[in-house]
């Protein structure tokens, strides 16, 4: 056996190891080598191109008792978000802003990707989603300036983790936000220093007199803003010593990248926020390419939002 070339055929390890028949034993014993073998040939283990994201679908209005809900499937990653509404008083420093509270949880059956194996990953994901939604939503949640505002309670449930939870979670929050019906002052009345519902909010949607409700919802729908994110793994091309972007890395690929770049794009203004950490230094041309990929992804997702 030629050990220097890693040729173990003479020993027939497959008969010794308890491996599924369909899996390549190299993939099990040395996952990094398995993935690198694909990358060196400009391919990916799941057959995608480097600039191709996994198929993405959204399903809205899944939950009956939530103000808004959405399920996002990005490849095998599945994230469910439910939004519920509370009405309260605004903070004195922001009398015309509402409030957003985000909580992230996972099912015990969700598979562990490279990200979730890091300590306190869900806390960090929660902090990131909280910041993204805090930048976008509070100005839209005002009812009566200084007196009443809406608090959105956003519950994100990770149903299945197959990599790139950040993008799927943010898209799920945005889809649920789009699906959310916000109460307005048309549904409320002020009496004796308190706010009261005029009628049941849900029944007003099915009410025959839907003109006002429809108009109000259309107005609020138009004022809603959305953000999407695109996460890319950074990989060094050994042959050309250049940098490759792996768009929407799977859990298999996430563990072996040299860095992670996330661009958050606002769909209306196309302004960006750049989050990057890695051992590879990026130049201006790399960021320009990444921005182009992110805008392309935004164009794809506009139809979903």
């Amino acid at each position: 056996m030629d050990e220097s070339e890693g040729n173990y055929e003479a020993y027939d390890l497959k008969t010794w190891l308890d491996l599924p028949e369909s899996s390549n034993w190299i993939e099990v014993l040395d996952p990094k080598a398995h993935v690198l073998a694909y990358w060196d040939q400009s391919a990916r283990p799941d057959g995608r191109m480097f600039s191709q994201a996994r198929p993405t679908q959204t399903v809205s209005s899944l939950l009956k008792h939530s103000a808004g809900s959405a399920l996002v499937k990005q490849g095998d990653t599945k994230v469910l978000t439910a939004i519920s509404i509370e009405i309260g008083q605004p903070a004195p420093e922001f009398p015309d802003h509402g409030d957003v509270m985000v909580s992230v949880s996972s099912t015990t059956t969700s598979t562990a990707s490279a990200s979730t194996l890091q300590p306190r990953f869900y806390d960090r994901l929660q902090a990131w989603l909280q910041r993204m939604l805090d930048d976008l939503l509070p100005p839209k949640l005002n009812l009566l300036t200084g007196k009443a505002c809406i608090r959105l309670v956003v519950s994100v449930m990770i149903l299945q983790d197959a990599g790139n939870l950040m993008d799927a979670s943010l898209l799920s929050c945005m889809a649920a936000w789009k699906n959310t019906t916000l109460p307005t002052m048309d549904h409320l009345m002020e009496s004796e220093g308190r706010l009261w519902w005029k009628e049941n909010l849900m029944s007003s949607v099915s009410n025959s007199d839907t003109t006002t409700t429809t108009t109000t919802q259309s107005a609020s729908e138009q004022s809603k803003e959305y953000r999407i994110s695109l996460t890319m793994g950074i990989v060094r091309d050994a042959k050309s010593d250049s940098i490759k972007f792996l768009v929407d890395p799977s859990s298999e690929e996430e563990k072996h990248t040299d860095g992670e770049l996330t661009l958050v794009v606002e769909l209306q203004s196309r302004k960006i926020q750049v989050e990057y950490t890695g051992s590879m230094g990026l130049e201006a041309s790399d960021f320009a390419l990444a921005s182009k990929l992110a805008n392309g992804r935004a164009d794809e997702l506009v139809s979903l939002l």
Partner: protein
Amino acid sequence: MSTKRRDGRSHGALRQLTCELSSLQRADGSALWKCGSTHVLGAVYGPIAPLNMAKEQEESIVTVLIKSGKSEEVTDEHKTFLTKILTNCIDVAKYPRTVVQVVLQIIQSDGSLVSCLLHAAVAALMDAGVELLYLPVATTCLVFGSNSSNSIWLDPMAAEEEEDNDNAIVTLVNNSRQPNKVLGSHTIGTSGISLNQFLACQQVATKACPAIPAFWRLAIEQKVQRESQTLWAN
């Protein structure tokens, strides 16, 4: 938005820097880093064996703990960002089955906090003698969202950061040996920035990068000189 800075600095000027090494006796390395009115005390413990044997890995594990009087100052995102930057710059392969713990205490915060935290951590790591692959240099830029002249202010104070909600704060980390390459980026802002603004921040960071390593070198030279005078005084 005022076109002049509150402390009279130009748009591309850094605040006064101060660095005091080995300020703590029990830590393996420590540094008191002051940038204007932002003061951070960094301490490094390690490389040491982890308490839990199960956590031993082929490479050293870097943990960052940030202590602050205000809980909203520092988020999990900041800790993750700093942990990843420091893990990439430390030669972790050289210290297998160990932990390098970096503790950062925010004494006073007046803007550009993430940059100061990173610089204090790197100074403390150098004081501890931990081998680094390169020196990461952080630059904080304030980008005006509503300003037609699209100016960028370097090293903003807290009052400048909070002046307008439409502004964005971009923290870039560069390699001191290759200032034109970005190793880390963190953006905070309600509205985000355009690509051109981000690339302009990168240019500003490239120009400002050489200043910090030069100051680190000065601080270390002064420390070595002080210690040699103390040791060989008699």
